[in-house]
Assembly symmetry: C2
Homo-oligomer: 471 residues x 2
């Protein structure tokens, strides 16, 4: 690299020119000048050096300088004046804003974080995933890379329908499935389509994940909380709520860990049939049941009344953004249209890769490998709690990636989580999950992203924190 | 596989049992019964065979049958009655809707299709893409697979900022970029954020792509058309329109192919500065300029006034769903929040793969390889038009993936496209692109997805079609 300097009416024009032919010289000159205008080093109305003079200064042919000036005139950085001289354009002389950079959180993350919904991404099956994408890139027809349809890649819908019918007891065919970018997009589109179809009131479990409520509000649906009992949603309260759509986590309620009983399932379906209402079944973590086979999905019982939602975020990695819906027939077309309008379909290579991954049994293999790992973490957590903080008793079944406990009356979420974070432990209370009124206080422990020693140490520190609060 | 039959109160229970140990027997029995209930073969209230009898019939241990029944009771398919017998549950006896199947278009696609916006996906650089994803899967830290931030993967924002600053003359840093799922999602989120920030009226070029207008309406923005002249948007008409945001395709107007002049660029920026308005620059195909270097992006002239949008849909493949925005500083945080709420970020493996692909110069290489291919197609199209249908004269510069022509006064879009489709040629009129009032009639020829012989044959058939219309 040679540096060429010139002193001229434009001030010192330091332009670094590489003469190895990789980038044409006129283009290097252009970006050099453009940069200086942008940085405010060449101000509005500055007269640029004559092309001949600049060419001589920089050791370039005049044609190169002329070409660069013409380009910058066309782009609006320079203005060509009568009389043959060139000036920096007025509009170009704006000082750019300072780089935004990467925003860092005001405080660092806790050393041991029991935040929910973190699967163990260190176990992401990279080699198997690479095998699948290699196969896809070797074999998929060219046309699959073009614009997509709204339901998603047929191969993935077929593979998932087979998998879900087998493992989750659903009633899926490729024709009633839709691929989306995780539950976030799928549920948002579903609520939008329902609102457009005249649905008005969404019942959610109380307590439940809080994110859906703001999505419902944005879609124009009123969200109401309905209490969750040991056997699932209180269907009598649902009845009174006047809701025409309900979201349930039937296989493993979030956050309580309850399993919806057969009677409640039947009552929910009876309610939906009688009221012409819809049940949204968020089957977010049913692949992880440790003590027995997971309860099959409600969707299989009443495919016309249930929209089923699943995701790879808890089983493989959130970063994949892969989710799927099984839809009642009447919702397939409006949902496909909504998905297409939203983002023209989900990225196709990911879909085809996941299709191959599922069809080859890799997904089953991965789940078989992960289940004992998570079970060990869960057992460690529950065991350590019993040992060190026995008055925090876990509720719910042995499943999923989290455990919930109530707090004894002398403790508050605020005090405990505060004392814990001071010890480097991230703990999370129930408060955001209550819908109608704040219910009893409790804690939700996510363990998916932790190791066994971290779980043990975290609970030990929690015991210390609670002792400190009680002092 | 052995087939086991039983005749019982439940009718003939044909369950196919594989005894190779791959799937537990109770599970096979469950899905067999579940399927028959679903298909209506086992009706509501049907009494199921006693576990002992069924076990004997099927050659299973009784425990297996008990386990299957319990599971199906828990799932709500069966009901356990006092007296020790088991019935098919009432709610389970719904006949599922017929499979939706794959919807086929009422008529087949045209044999030669000049539909716009189809890049040549047969040239997708599969081997180079695989190299990049292999590198990503080998090297990316685990944590990148977890939940994402709203701006997108840092590596991709850095790689694209470098690329765009170099090739498109933008003023991008990783900190003011945002990754989205193509222009569709990026523009939708941007219009939503602008509407929420109080923007009210979006001016679009007239004629222009029609899809954005419905997106604007859904976001609560009024869309108005402003005429496009040879030198770009009519800024005086923009002034009168009362718009506070304008969308321009400055480097290569769609569909007319006009390039916004330096004077118009300056006037647009002056307008935006004076009115405190925003310019959205849709840089959809600027990588493809065949006769000279493309005009740099307006964003580089006024980074605080311009939101720049780019996409890989025209350069690599629409199925990737990769797009990017360069945003004025004040829009970065609201847009990142909107993206996060929308779908929790774009799939991360695609982002990291594309980052590596760009950083290693593969994107430049791909574009260098594609430019002459498209130029040949364009030249073939323009040459054949001049030869066979000389009164359809192309307008606009030599760039992009489409050519536009006006129609002579004796021809209408309807007649010509109808006569063409009868000959197996898909042709598209301007009508959907007019905003305020229908302007003159014309045709838009997309050639990106065609071959040279197909282009020639298509124009020959168009000449026949026009001759037939004129007869």
């Amino acid at each position: 690299m040679s540096r060429s300097r010139t002193n001229s009416g434009a001030g010192e024009l330091l332009v670094e020119l590489r003469r190895d032919g990789a980038v044409p010289l006129h283009q290097q000159l252009e970006s050099g000048i453009r940069e200086r205008i942008r940085q405010g080093l060449l101000r509005a109305d500055t007269v640029m050096p004559a092309t001949r003079a600049l060419a001589a200064d920089l050791g370039l042919s005049r044609g190169v300088v002329v070409e660069a000036y013409q380009q910058l005139v066309a782009e609006g950085y320079l203005v060509s004046r009568e009389g043959g001289y060139t000036q920096v354009a007025p509009a170009a002389a704006q000082v750019p804003s300072p780089p935004a950079g990467i925003r860092s959180a005001p405080t660092g993350p806790p050393r041991i974080d029991f935040k929910y919904s973190r699967p163990d991404v260190t176990q992401f099956p990279r080699a198997a995933w690479l095998r699948s994408i290699r196969k896809v890139l070797n074999e998929t027809p060219h046309r699959t890379l073009g614009y997509l349809d709204g339901q998603g890649a047929l191969a993935l819908r077929e593979a998932l329908a087979d998998y879900l019918n087998r493992v989750r007891g659903t009633s899926a065919q490729a024709g009633n499935m839709l691929i989306c970018n995780g539950f976030a997009q799928g549920s948002r589109l579903l609520l939008q389509v329902l609102a457009a179809a005249g649905y008005r009131r969404l019942a959610v479990e109380d307590p439940s994940d809080d994110e859906l409520r703001s999505v419902a509000a944005a879609a124009g649906l009123e969200a109401v909380g309905v209490p969750v009992l040991e056997a699932g949603l209180d269907v009598e309260a649902l009845e009174r709520s006047g809701a025409d759509v309900v979201l349930v986590t039937a296989a493993h309620q979030f956050p309580t860990g309850a399993v919806t009983s057969a009677a409640t399932r039947a009552a929910l379906i009876e309610w939906a049939t009688r009221r012409d209402a819809l049940i949204i079944e968020d089957d977010y973590d049913a692949e992880y049941r440790y003590d027995r086979e997971p309860i099959g999905a409600m969707q299989g019982l009443a495919p016309d009344r249930v929209a089923y939602a699943g995701t790879a975020s808890k089983t493989l990695a959130p970063g994949l953004r892969l989710g799927w819906l099984i839809l009642p027939e009447r919702l397939v077309e409006p949902m496909a249209a909504a998905k297409l309008a939203d983002d023209r379909g989900s990225p196709v290579l990911d879909q085809l890769t996941f299709a191959d991954f599922v069809a080859r049994g890799e997904f089953d293999r991965h789940l078989r490998r992960m289940r004992p790992r998570y079970r060990v973490l869960r057992d460690a957590l529950v065991g350590r709690l019993a040992e060190k903080v026995p008055d925090l008793r876990p509720i719910g079944v042995s499943a999923g990636l989290h455990v919930m406990t109530w707090l004894p009356p002398d403790l508050t979420e605020r005090d405990v989580t505060q004392a814990a974070i001071e010890r480097g432990v991230g703990l999370y209370g129930l408060r955001p999950y209550w819908v109608q009124n704040a219910g009893p206080e409790g804690l939700v422990f996510g363990y998916g992203g932790l190791t066994e020693p971290a779980v043990a140490e975290g609970i030990d520190l929690l015991a210390e924190a609670i002792a400190a609060v009680r002092k």
